[in-house]
Amino acid sequence: MIKRFSLLSSAVLIALPCLLKADPTVSARVSATDLTVNNQITLSIEVSGVNNVNGTPNLTLPDFDTQPAGQTSSYQWINGQTSALVTFNYVLTPKKTGSLQVPSITLNVGGKTYNTQPIAINVRPDNGVPATGAAPAEPNGTRQVQVPAEGLKPVFMTATVDSDKVYVGQQVLVKIQFLKRPEVRFGSQARYSEPDLTGFLVEPLKKQEFTTTINGARYDVTEIPYAVFPTSDGEFVIGSAGIELAVHTEPDPFDPNSFFQSFFGRNEIAHLTTRAIPVRVRALPASKPANFSGAVGRFKMSAKIDSDQLEVGKPFNLIITVEGVGNIKTIKEPVLPELHGLRRYETISSSKISEDGKFLSGSKEFKILLIPQVSGQLSIPSAAFVYFNPAKNDYVIESTPEIPLVVKPGKLNQADQETQTQAAPPGQPLTGVRVMEKDIRFIKTGKVHPLTRPLYEKPIFLLFNLFPPLFAFVAFLSRRQSLLKIERAEEFRSRGALKNARKAIAGARKLVKTADATAFYGAIHAAVAGYLADKLALSASGLMWDEVDQRLALKQVTPKTRQEIRDIFDLADMARFATSSFSDESRETALENAERVLNQLNGAL
């Protein structure tokens, strides 16, 4: 009977892990679903019910800046089988305000793909109001002390923090201590439940084991410390940690079920927990410098280059190291101003974490790949890193000194080499010009001139260019006048009649004193006859008195004037044949008569 029962029990024990083995579960949770834009939250992706998780979650969060914050694991031992709770932690910084979403996250576990539920997050503008939605303070929560209030027990556990008032990003040291008297024996592996640290970035520190004496009683202490960093301001709680374990007890010899006790009941299951601890997290002072990226702690920064032989086209690394006490992993790249003469490529960062059981410290190295583009004396400007020092209660700006560089001429860069290779005919070696270094062309010599206004603004230039159109215009007018003279010749002749007659009279005046009377009277005749010919549109050479007289009559010229004209013509004819009978006085009279007649005619014609 006993043998049959033992076999049955063994079968159940062997089959139990298989029966208990359920599908893995994958879930995501965040430390807060309502926050301001300058705060951070923690995203935890938990995978439970598996022994091993291959790979990391496939994280694509367009609304957030994502910073990995480590991976934690806790193992459980159940009936001879281990089961892990693996948590992937990330710090999320919202890029904008509004209703954002952490979308469904995909994770491959044991060859199967699992998806988490999307999480809605409300991001508000930063108006100085502390974020809500953080874990509420536990009403009955009291700060834990090393010795529990209910007194010492053979086995107990405590939780303490080094400070319950901290700034966002400042380290809080959480110590979970498990104490047991040396005589206490355990019947099974302890099953440890980590405290709920929602709202904090968690970095487990090195486990400590030591012995202590409390009130004369000796205890073996196992201390599990955590460095936790609050990600946003508000009231938070360090949750309870717990241990479930079987404590070995001696069987009661008077108990009728002692047989079963000896088989199943020798171990008494004990549930130990710590009390929750409230932590008040203050927002960082508002006077944040421009390049502050959230680092809190105490840091130093240095910069160096990894090569002392710099050439154009030859890459080298600028190594900027930030070291100190604080959450090293979340430190962002220091701000480096624009580089002149150097092409900047990607930055590779790596962290070295060390801890002494109290503080998380270490260094983070940023390797920036640079390639000189020009030869000569260049420099890497000062880089700046801003952090908040809680001890000083102020922001601190660390900067590196400027690094001078001497760059020698170097070889052609890779991109240009590829271009040339493509240009070469297939199967033929690359020949011809090879550009070794692309640099600016050399200085020039030449002349310098006084700075003057442009040519088109100078008056002399404008005047100079006025001549051609002016010339064309004058030519046009002249041409037009010539054509008019041809078209309206009689009118022009009539207009010029008096002018021509006066010219002729002036010529005659010069002949008054001369002995040549014929020439004088000829000039008088020509003046009057020419005038009449021009005015009456007749030929001066073939002028007939009768025709003239008739036309003058038609033009309403008085008979008296017509007679005077006739007299002048007759006098001129007589003078041609009897020159001696005309004295100087008669010439003067003839001249006056001619002028008077011309004036009279000018009014009439």
Binding site: D439, I443, T445, G446, V448, H449, P450, F471, F476
Partner: protein, 252 residues
């Protein structure tokens, strides 16, 4: 006695000029030699003095561009190359160095029409237009006056010169219209363009050192600049942006 002093001063003037150094061309040459000897700072002082004294020259501006490029000041290098290009727009060396100085800028806001219409300087266009003007109106006037007896070529010459005149006048007009929109260069980083003329205004956008911007308004301390292709406007301190155009007044 006063006359003697005056005479002495007049006689000593050439000697003083000689003592002062040399002609501007010789000083420029001297600066170039200093540059070649590896004394760019001294060379730069002479270049800058020549500019301050109101001298210009494509080579002078080009060398100043080279000087700033060597010092890693790309913005100032671009400014002087642009100025050199205004005086000698088709010089391949200036074009090459300008392109290299600007090689770090992504998506340069380049106005291709501006570059095309600035292929010739204002003086070149003025001379060309003047030449064609004389030919056109000369032929027109002479033909009108009847001084040209031929019936064949004057008509064709008039058409050709008239077309050329219209083309150059149009080109000149377009270039002049673009000159009415002065350009400037961002000479120092960080190229933060603010929403108002003061450091208290928020940064609206940033623009890389060496970029060309349109100069919309220039106050004693701040300049309003625009990036027309992207429809952006803002204010920058005068220490970070400088107009390309040098006028006789501004050089002093």
């Amino acid at each position: 006695m006063r006359r003697i002093f005056l005479l002495a001063a007049i006689l000593a003037f050439p000697l003083l000029i000689h003592a002062e150094g040399t002609t501007p061309d010789e000083r420029f040459l001297n600066a170039n030699q200093l540059f070649e000897k590896g004394e760019p700072d001294k060379a730069g002082e002479i270049y800058q003095a020549l500019v301050s004294q109101g001298f210009q020259g494509a080579e002078l501006y080009y060398n100043l561009g080279n000087l700033h490029y060597r010092k890693g000041e790309r913005g100032k290098a671009v400014l002087w190359y642009e100025r050199a290009l205004r005086l000698n727009p088709r010089d391949p060396d200036i074009q090459f160095n300008l392109s290299l100085a600007r090689s770090h800028i992504k998506d340069e806001d380049e106005n291709i029409f501006r570059r095309i219409f600035m292929t010739f300087t204002g003086d070149e266009l003025s001379c060309a237009m003047s030449f064609i003007l004389w030919i056109f109106f000369g032929i027109l006037g002479a033909r009108t006056m009847g001084w040209i007896k031929s019936e064949n070529w004057p008509g064709a010459a008039l058409w050709l010169s008239g077309f050329s005149l219209a083309l150059i006048a149009g080109w000149f007009g377009a270039a002049a219209a673009m000159e009415q929109e002065p350009m400037a260069v961002v000479i120092t980083p960080p190229g933060e363009v603010r929403n108002g003329p003061g450091p208290d205004y928020a940064v609206g956008f940033t623009i890389p050192e060496g970029s060309n911007v349109q100069l919309l308004n220039r106050r004693p301390d701040w300049s309003q600049v625009g990036v027309p292709n992207q429809g952006l406007k803002g204010w920058m301190p005068n220490s970070e942006v400088e107009p390309i155009e040098i006028t006789p007044a501004s050089s002093n």
